[in-house]
């Protein structure tokens, strides 16, 4: 969830950037997750599109997100090569679990069991 407080002394652009970084680092935004379009996020948060576009550009420059042409912006895998591979695999597993309609609790339990095996 992103929150923008217009009364905060921190500029909206910086509020947005810091929250994205926190969510990527904290795993709330997993590698491969698609971000909202610039226009959509600007409308939702009552910001100017340029503010959101600048935020996305800086996040991309810092390696947190990547832009795939017209497909939009996606969260990049973080960490070393092994961690990046693991995050991509986790994304694929999560997508498949959602397709199958399996509950997150069951999916997590199976992963935990598989890791312990």
């Amino acid at each position: 969830m992103l929150t923008i407080d217009p009364k905060s002394p921190v500029p909206p652009f910086e509020q947005l950037r810091l929250q994205f970084i926190e969510q990527v680092r904290g795993g709330e935004l997993a590698a491969g997750a698609k971000l909202p379009t610039v226009r959509r996020l600007a409308d939702d948060l009552g910001l100017a599109p340029n503010t959101v576009a600048r935020c996305y550009r800086e996040l991309e420059r810092d390696g947190f997100i990547e832009t795939r042409g017209r497909n939009g912006s996606f969260v990049s895998a973080q960490g070393d090569a092994a961690e990046q591979q693991a995050q991509v695999a986790a994304r694929a597993y999560a997508d498949r679990v959602k397709q199958l309609g399996v509950s997150p609790r069951d999916a997590l339990a199976w992963v935990t069991a598989a890791l312990k095996a």
Binding site: I4, P6, G72, K98, P104
Partner: protein, 299 residues
């Protein structure tokens, strides 16, 4: 138009007018909003109740007005000789199809009305990841609509080719209407999900998601119902004609099958799993207290 067609048309019009009138009763709209809150296990804060009720009212009015307009158009078509179907049953199918499609069209238009405005000095919240139609609608409902409509069109074409005569009319009618409403759904659903969601709190966002999910499920039910009806009618006609059944016997079987299917669909649509699908996708960790406005609600 014969007396039966008139009776069914007037009965359908009376139902739609009664439903339209019901949307002006404050208790009904509040009951609908809180009933939905209980069904999806999401608290409806007092401050949000008017906004949620208003959206239910808009949907109800849009559906009833749309149904009435299409019903009048169908009656005028029959009176003006634009349609002269085979027997009273054909007129009934036309009335039923018109009301269903009209309700969907009206509901679709209503889904795009109204906009939330926020004071510029209020904090705003938004989701940090993109959403799609599949986050709001169970995949089996969308897939079911596609499969049933495509199968219905195939059955209608096969019946036309083998020369099933007048029996092909309701099958082709529902298959055609199913295809039209399916296209309507696909276009409208993308537009609905692409609309911005101005929200000042988690509760605002959860309830906007809830309304979107409700509207999308209503929209997809149109092509799904029309496709299934067409398919049932077509299969009964094909089996009945090859087995030498009488028209009355086939009508009885159609009535029984469609009633059973209608009941099953109604029961399914009320199940928590289908109604709460969007929560499992968008708010898997949602607790009752996340949307509660404790101080206001207590007051």
């Amino acid at each position: 138009m014969d007396s039966l067609a008139w009776f069914v048309s007037i009965f359908a019009a009376a139902l739609l007018v009664a439903f339209f009138a019901l949307t002006f009763v404050p208790f009904f709209s509040r009951y609908t909003a809180y009933r939905y809150s209980v069904d999806i296990h999401v608290n409806l804060p007092v401050r949000l109740e008017p906004a949620v009720s208003t959206r239910f009212i808009a949907q109800g009015r849009g559906a009833s007005i749309g149904g009435l307009i299409f019903l009048v158009a169908a009656v005028l078509a029959m009176l003006g000789g634009l349609y002269a179907g085979d027997g009273p049953a054909a007129a009934l199918w036309l009335v039923f199809g018109a009301v269903l499609v009209g309700s969907l069209a009206g509901g679709t238009v209503a889904a795009f009305t109204g906009a939330t405005t926020f004071a510029s000095d209020r904090p705003r919240v938004a989701r940090s990841r993109a959403v799609s139609v599949s986050d709001y609608l169970p995949p089996w409902e969308r897939l079911g609509a596609w499969v049933s409509v495509v199968a219905a069109v195939v059955v209608a074409v096969v019946m036309s080719v083998v020369g099933a005569g007048a029996a092909v009319f309701p099958v082709a009618l529902f298959a055609g209407l199913g295809a039209v409403t399916l296209v309507m759904f696909e276009i409208a659903s993308d537009r609905i999900v692409d609309r911005s969601q101005p929200a000042g709190s988690t509760a605002d966002l959860v309830w906007d998601d809830a309304m979107r999910s409700s509207i999308l499920r209503d929209l997809v039910s149109g092509p799904l119902a029309l496709g299934v009806f067409s398919l049932v009618l077509g299969i009964v006609q094909i089996v009945g004609l090859s087995a030498g059944m009488t028209a009355a016997a086939m009508t009885d079987i159609n009535g029984a099958l469609l009633s059973a299917l209608g009941l099953a669909v109604t029961l399914y649509s009320r199940t928590g799993r289908a109604q709460r699908y969007f929560i499992s996708r968008l708010w898997p960790d949602l607790r009752w207290s996340d949307t509660a406005d404790t101080a206001t609600d207590a007051a």
